[in-house]
């Protein structure tokens, strides 16, 4: 975060409230949404907080309208955001693909609940992680951040806006019912500045979809700033004109849309690690389970196990190198997650059989207890 580390204020906030405060601090001035448990408080608080800031809160007729209005506002010049949960996020998939294709910088908050379908409307899950990357049709990449506390809900939402602008990409904040509804202290850092949108360096002959060597676009002008933009969900040339009939143009754009994220993954990663130096058994975690996981790792250390901890705050792009590097050192990776075991598959893939990978799924809306993770750390303790 591009701000001084001094703390200006301490607030007790639910994760959902912290998301709102993080968004507003980043300069979010447009929110279109539709109520859904357990994300509704985000809309509710936005409806109170935005108007006095001159911002716009709109409850739309559904989630499809919400994501589309959010994208429209982004091209209109606003830092824009929407929030929902499982069923609503599923409805947004076409819009999210549009945002990815048109390189619309938006933030989508998914306060995950248990699924599938209506599932467990008032309980937590982490079952939408793969959907976040692949829920829309076609090849594309997004960024997804996973907070594990109200503090991170604030910080990662702020960062989500920064990443969205920088990479011109939809950024998910994958929170969950536990984070969303737990009140905790949030230390608001001082000197937080709103994210500014970069204007294009070129004005004459500006090509809205001409990327630099880094695969990124040259800033982002808004509508009615004199650029005569053409934004199209069809694959297009650098000037924005449709190119669905030009295989090379389409292939290159598709590749760039993916590479601009995966190719910058080492800049995007955000990991918190503890005790890795000599760790033999490492818990690789993200979101809610990262809390009991840290407790468990500490407890295991207390009991003489060389336990380690890696918390992934940026689940997409997946921190392949960091995890592959773990595989070279630790003998076992333990992956607790609130689903049948999805991210563990990615861990298996990038570790390519070089280390034991243990899945620790938890379903039914419950969170792992520290003891459950500890038991796994102890169980296979080296003899």
């Amino acid at each position: 975060m591009n701000h001084e580390k001094s703390i200006t204020e301490i607030k007790i906030l639910q994760g959902n409230e912290a998301v709102v405060e993080g968004a507003l601090a980043a300069g979010c001035r447009y929110f279109a949404g539709y109520p859904i448990t357990p994300a509704t408080e985000i809309a509710e608080l936005m409806s109170e907080r935005l108007p006095p800031l001159g911002g716009v809160f709109m409850q739309m007729e559904d989630e499809i309208a919400s994501i589309c209005a959010t994208i429209g506002a982004a091209f209109g010049g606003a830092l824009a955001c929407t929030a929902s949960s499982g069923p609503g996020i599923s409805l947004m998939q076409e819009g999210i693909g549009y945002a990815a294709e048109t390189e619309a910088p938006i933030v989508v908050v998914n306060v995950m609940r248990g699924g599938p379908s209506t599932g467990m409307p008032t309980a937590a899950g982490q079952q939408d992680i793969i959907q976040a990357r692949a829920g829309s049709h076609g090849d594309y990449e997004i960024i997804a951040l996973m907070p594990s506390s109200s503090q991170e809900a604030f910080e990662l939402t702020y960062r989500a806006f920064a990443l969205a602008q920088h990479y011109r990409v939809p950024v998910y904040v994958l929170s969950d019912e536990i984070i969303g509804h737990t009140r905790e202290k949030v230390r608001i850092p001082g000197g937080l500045r709103p994210i500014e949108r970069k204007h294009p360096r070129e004005r004459e002959n500006y090509l809205p979809y001409k990327a630099g060597a880094d695969d990124l676009l040259d800033g982002m002008p808004a509508f009615n700033e004199g650029y005569r933009l053409l934004i199209d969900g069809q694959l297009h040339s650098e000037d924005g004109n449709r190119a669905g009939h030009l295989p090379d143009v389409c292939a290159q754009l598709t590749e760039r849309l993916c590479r601009k994220i995966t190719g910058h993954r080492e800049e995007i990663y955000d990991l918190e690690t503890h005790f890795l130096d000599d760790a033999e058994r490492v818990v690789v975690c993200f979101g809610s389970p990262a809390r009991p996981a840290l407790r468990a790792v500490k407890d295991a250390r207390d009991r003489g196990v060389r336990a380690g901890y890696m918390k992934i705050r940026t689940i997409w792009p997946f921190p392949e190198e960091a995890i592959a590097a773990l595989a070279g050192k630790a003998r076992t990776l333990i992956v607790p997650e609130l689903n049948v075991g999805r991210v563990v598959q990615e861990v298996r893939r990038v570790t390519a059989g070089r280390t034991e990978v243990v899945s620790l799924p938890k379903l039914g809306g419950l969170l792992h207890t520290p003891d459950e993770i500890l038991a796994e750390l102890m169980k296979r303790r080296r003899p």
Partner: protein, 185 residues
């Protein structure tokens, strides 16, 4: 130091507000780390409602209760449902005298507080029963200071709730000082 409080009752009894007040009192006025959660949604409608608070003097890793130090039951179904999650040997169990009639004998530290009755009779509204109960919990367990609770009511509640809740705090303290708490050990 880590203290866990579990509060349960009917939806509409202000259970969640109890939790929030406790958390805010500890967090804002006693410089503690806190984590507060609750059940809600359809389950909270007419049915059982539950709130939890964890208070600690260091970063809280695990935000849910594992082994509650204090358990408050504002209804019989709430007691019945959550008692199995509590250690009856160690937990301080507070129940509403009127609404909770059957408490298993295994409970070692039981406080029967006439919260609803006091609220109705002395504050003129059942809605204040939660603050009566909270005041009793604070007074009996010292989990936070009474002063912090008072500041929370004064500084953080909406104006329309402030007065009745201050009243509730007052009458509770008066009642408890009267010495007629039913306490079973």
């Amino acid at each position: 130091m880590r203290k866990e409080i579990k509060l349960a009752g009917f939806g509409g009894q202000g259970i969640v507000l109890m939790g929030v007040m406790l958390a805010e009192a500890a967090g804002y006025y006693e410089n503690m780390e806190i984590a507060q959660t609750q059940s809600y949604g359809p389950e909270a409608r007419g049915g059982a409602c539950r709130a939890e608070v964890v208070i600690a003097d260091e970063m809280i890793d695990y935000t849910k209760t594992l082994n509650a130090d204090v358990f408050v039951a504002m209804s019989q179904p709430a007691l019945d449902r959550y008692l199995p999650e509590i250690d009856p040997e160690t937990a301080a169990v507070f129940v509403d005298e009127m609404l909770v009639t059957a408490v298993p004998e295994t409970v070692r530290h039981l406080y029967r507080i006439p919260a609803t009755r006091l609220a109705e009779e002395q504050c003129g509204s059942r809605m204040a029963a939660n603050t009566v109960m909270l005041a009793a919990v604070v007074q009996k367990t010292g989990i936070i200071s009474l002063e912090a609770l008072g500041r929370t009511i004064r500084e953080r509640l909406a104006p329309r709730l402030r007065d009745i809740n201050l009243k509730a705090l007052e009458i509770t303290l008066a009642y408890l000082s009267g010495g007629d708490t039913h306490e079973t050990l």
